[in-house]
């Protein structure tokens, strides 16, 4: 697993007052990385930079060990499936025509596969795309991303507008997709509980900076929530305190697991909680 599906080093991009600062990221092939961040944290910009859909000021990007992303029609992008939000497929055709158009872009376009996903997602083939609901448009885009034998999926908020049942189905599809060790996924989402189910790595972005990028299970193993009274707060080691939530009847503190003093009950927590604690902590420091 020495190959990297995504490797970016020292990415910089300035967009008015928004800036991506010195961002480095790598995703080993065969893994799923979840990208988390507030609205406007730069997730979509990062994805655009990775796909070379906008010029970067400096830095290097290689996808599937290929550095020349985006300069010809048979470059590495043939092996990449893309979903971006909002689902911006051309409005005036029906899904069947869309399939024909997409087959002009992808050399390995597989119409049977595409039809399979249309059936699976129950997409009406006769309706024009602008008559489809937001969720269905998203499903259609997911279908196009999965129908050309991609090795890497780059998904920007693909679960937006999907109902919980379809989301579950979609996560399952992603799980099946990565059963092949050569397949990798980069997925951004606001629904952290979804990411918790499928990701191997979690990257958190805040205001154009990558705050951390770590193994998901390591995060879950490393941090514990301790519940205590406000008076007990001082007994906790300050240095390993990630964040605290003070309530009227007690406090919740996120701590490094190893540093919880004896006598406190520590609890495992969810990825969502960890991220929220970190985000709050980041806000307070600003």
């Amino acid at each position: 697993m020495s190959n990297n599906a995504i490797k970016a080093t020292g990415l910089n991009k300035k967009y008015g007052d928004f800036e991506i600062k010195n961002l480095s990221l790598s995703l080993p092939s065969g893994c799923i990385m979840g990208l988390i961040g507030e609205n406007g944290a730069g997730k979509s910009t990062l994805i655009r930079l990775l796909m070379n859909a906008c010029d970067r000021d400096s830095g290097t990007v290689s996808l599937l060990d290929d550095e020349n992303v985006g300069y010809s029609e048979d470059d590495v992008r043939q092996d990449i499936g893309i979903v971006i939000d909002p689902a911006c497929l051309p409005q005036n055709y029906n899904p069947v025509t869309l399939g024909k158009i997409m087959s002009g872009f992808y050399k390995k376009w597989d119409n049977d596969e595409y039809n399979k996903y249309l059936d699976l997602f129950e997409i009406d083939r006769k309706k024009k795309i602008f008559n489809l609901s937001t969720g269905t448009k998203m499903k259609l885009m997911i279908a196009t991303a999965l129908s050309h034998d991609a090795k890497l999926l780059i998904l920007d908020e693909p679960t937006n507008g999907l109902d919980p049942m379809v989301r579950e189905q979609f996560l399952d599809i992603l799980g099946d997709f990565t059963l092949d060790a050569g397949h990798s996924v980069l997925i951004s989402s606001h629904i952290i509980s979804d990411l918790e189910k499928i990701c191997d790595y979690v990257a958190y972005m805040h205001k154009g900076e990558l705050k951390f990028c770590d193994e998901k299970d390591k995060l879950l193993d490393d941090y514990r929530v301790v519940k205590c009274s406000e008076a007990q707060l001082d007994d906790l080691p300050k240095s390993s305190c990630i964040g605290a939530k003070k309530g009227q009847f007690g406090c919740e503190v996120l701590l490094k697991s190893d540093d919880v003093p004896l006598g406190f009950t520590k609890e495992r927590t969810t990825l969502e909680e960890i991220i929220l604690f970190m985000a709050r902590d980041g806000k307070e420091r600003e």
Partner: protein, 128 residues
């Protein structure tokens, strides 16, 4: 085979997997030569990362419980299940010693302690 991860346990996830697979081997649920689920299938099913699963399997392989046939998968090694049982028993003994010393520190009698253990088992029965 069942592998049940606990959310309340303080044990890291990969250790939980290790210990459960060891348990399955000890109890005879997994026999020598049985194929283990592939890393990716297990990771997908348990909603944990591939890396963690791989680490657990590596650990098990290092300890000699399983072996890997490249490009085929992992298989249970021909270890003596008695051996695992004994190591478990030793673990239990160590825990009991700790309990006894803790009980001694608040002068809890032997009978009270046995009562407590019984209670734990009864609760477990009720839950089932």
């Amino acid at each position: 085979m069942n592998i049940l991860l606990s959310n309340t346990s303080d044990m890291p996830i990969y250790e939980q997997i290790c210990s459960q697979i060891k348990g399955l081997i000890a109890s005879g649920g997994l026999k020598a030569g049985d194929a283990l689920p592939s890393i990716r299938v297990l990771a997908k099913d348990l909603h944990i990362s591939v890396i963690t699963t791989k680490r657990a399997y590596d650990e098990l392989e290092k300890e000699g419980y399983i072996y890997t046939v490249s490009s085929k998968g992992c298989y249970v090694a021909d270890t003596n299940s008695e051996l695992i049982r004994e190591s478990r028993l030793r673990e239990i003994e160590a825990h009991i010693e700790k309990i006894a010393s803790l009980a001694g520190s608040i002068s809890l009698t032997k009978n009270e302690l046995i009562e407590m253990i019984k209670l734990v088992y009864e609760e477990g029965d009720d839950n089932e």
